[in-house]
């Protein structure tokens, strides 16, 4: 099989694999075997230490609008403990304040934005480690 045939198939398979969400995919025929593996994605998990990944239980709180971040006064800080669903900040869009909430309790492991920062849809704002 020529390399572009192989690559074309690997490409198609890669698409299928990613879509399926499975971890591993292997195809064998007469001349060729193509195997693709994927380890489950971990948000913001540094590539060097995939081992640690599974133990983490981190939620990313993302913006569901395009706008400008407004932190609270005083702002929610890293290491802060949250007892249940708490307001963390809001994102201002065309003068409207869209609250950002923690949904449930936990520890703020990272504040990923600064006050007044423009953010797009789906942009992570806070990382919360769940108990």
């Amino acid at each position: 099989m020529t390399e572009d045939l192989i690559a074309t198939r690997a490409r198609a398979l890669a698409g299928a694999l990613t879509e399926s969400g499975f971890a591993r995919l292997r195809v064998r025929d007469g001349q060729t075997e193509i195997e693709l593996r994927r380890t489950p994605r971990v948000p913001a998990a540094p590539a060097e230490e995939p081992a640690r990944a599974p133990e983490r239980r981190t939620d990313l709180i993302a913006s569901d609008v395009v706008g400008v971040v407004r932190l609270l006064r005083p702002p929610v800080g890293e290491g802060q403990d949250l007892d249940g669903d708490r307001e963390l900040a809001y994102v201002e869009t065309l003068g409207i304040r869209n609250p950002v909430r923690s949904r449930s309790g936990g520890r703020v492991s990272a504040v990923l934005v600064t006050d007044g920062q423009p953010v797009e849809y789906g942009q992570p704002l806070f990382a919360i480690e769940r108990r």
Binding site: T8, R9, V66, G67, V68, T93, E120, Y121, G122
Partner: protein, 453 residues
């Protein structure tokens, strides 16, 4: 001239606008849905904002997020492209309210042309020939009176309608009541506006449209006509060309003259298209599209004008750099829409990954596309993958060039309309030219029958 333009669209037209901006030295801001993160229109823009998830209501139609992206990034104008918010007068207003120039006509003009009955009345008042028929009819009985007066077959149309929705052909009085009820229900469901009007049904007309440009200083020109009669049963255009073949000179001149007069009469500005039904020597105004159109490149190639750049210059307040006398058509151009559709099953759209994409090139071939080898085709949007445009000295040479280009085009991973369009280009009736909008549906019917036997 603008400093930075937000492109409120996706796909090939977003790329087309990005090109025009960059060639004018204007920076660009792309918007994209989570499904389009890998798209070329995002890669080539100077900045890009994700405005929502795949479904259009939450991303490409999400006005607050789009306007917000424009303000955050410091844009001074918005180009809406075609589809999505392009003919949304409210979006044009909101843009203006936030100090953003909407690259298109004034909101009031968008609104009046968007309402078909109003548009027809305005055009008639400007002396533009329109199909015999009524203004809004209050009831099915009033519709019946009008139909009797103009004679069957008639067409029932929702004034808010578009894309064939809220429209019914009525061959005889018996069918009128049912047709009226279903069309009105459809219109109310689709457009929250059930107002209907009646017009004479023109049987198998040609769809011929005229491209116009109007600046904000009274300058108005036309860039000739386009023949878009090759339409799928869904009324979607598949193959377009300029100039219209086999068209009587007098009719052609009348179309051009009527288009520019009408453009002035309604106080139109920016780029627009007047669509006409042509039947023999009769010409009837159908509607005016207040945006750039998919098929604009065939006019660009024949007239040597960059329509999208002109849109931007006009919106920036510049006068047209040329008069009608400066514009001379050269040769013939034809466009084929390469859609991710299966022509053998009613053009059912397909989605997936394009394992391999190789387009044609060489002399006289222009390709406008946002796809590439490995690109994903999301299920949420229009199925057009590319436009291939061929130009030649004559219609025949342009068609030969297009056949050559289609034979070089290889797209693997999804079914496309490439082979079907080659088949159509080879048909003797198409080759002769001058076919009506009923031709392709009839062709498809014959084809299916042949396949069955």
């Amino acid at each position: 001239m603008f400093k930075k333009v937000l492109i409120a669209n996706r796909g090939e037209i977003a790329l087309r606008i990005n090109r025009a901006c960059h060639e004018l030295g204007v920076s660009t801001v792309a918007i994209f849905s989570e499904a389009d993160r890998q798209s070329l229109h995002v890669r080539h823009a100077d900045e890009a904002f994700c405005v929502g998830p795949g479904p259009v209501m939450r991303s490409y139609l999400n006005i607050p997020n789009i306007i917000s992206a424009a303000l955050i990034s410091g844009c001074d104008a918005i180009h809406p492209g075609y589809g999505f918010l392009a003919e949304n007068a409210r979006f044009a207003e909101i843009s203006a309210d936030h100090g953003l120039t909407f690259i298109g006509p004034r909101p009031a003009v968008i609104a009046s042309m968007g309402d078909k009955a109003t548009a027809k009345r305005l055009m008639a008042a400007a002396g533009v020939p329109t199909t015999p028929g009524s203004d809004i009819v209050a009831s099915v009985d009033e519709a019946r009176e009008v139909a009797a007066k103009i004679g069957y077959p008639v067409l029932l149309k929702a004034t808010a309608g578009g894309g064939g929705k809220g429209m019914r052909e009525v061959p005889s009085p018996d069918e009128l009541a049912t047709a009226f009820a279903t069309a009105q229900a459809e219109a109310e469901a689709s457009f929250k506006d059930g107002r209907m009007y009646v017009e004479k049904l023109i049987v198998n007309p040609r769809h011929i449209e005229v491209q116009v440009l109007a600046d904000e200083h009274g300058g108005v020109v036309h860039l000739g006509e386009r023949d878009c009669s090759v339409q799928k049963p869904s009324h979607q255009k598949l193959i377009e060309e300029a100039p219209a073949p086999e068209l009587d000179h007098a009719v052609r001149d009348r179309l051009h003259q009527v288009a520019t007069t009408a453009t002035r009469a309604v106080g139109y500005t920016n780029a627009g298209t007047l669509e006409f039904l042509v039947s023999g020597d009769d010409v009837f105004f159908m509607e005016m599209n207040t945006r750039i159109q998919v098929e604009h490149p065939v006019s660009e190639l024949v007239y040597g004008v960059d329509l999208v750049k002109e849109q931007i210059r006009i919106a920036a307040g510049e006068p047209l750099g040329f008069t009608q006398e400066d514009l001379h058509p050269h040769g013939h151009a034809i466009e084929v829409r390469v859609n991710a559709e299966d022509a053998d099953s009613n053009f059912a759209p397909a989605a997936g990954t394009l394992s391999s994409v190789v387009f044609a090139g060489g002399p006289g071939i222009r390709v406008d596309t946002h796809v590439y080898s490995g690109a994903m085709v999301p299920p949420f949007y229009d199925s057009m993958l590319a436009k291939i445009i061929a130009v030649g000295r004559t219609r025949e040479s342009a068609i030969l060039r297009m056949e050559r280009a289609l034979s070089e085009t290889r797209i693997e991973g999804v079914k496309t309309t490439v082979d079907f369009c080659r088949e159509v280009l080879a048909d003797p009736e198409f080759r002769r030219g001058g076919i009506g909008v009923g031709w392709l549906p009839a062709y498809l019917a014959r084809r299916t029958q042949a396949a069955v036997l």
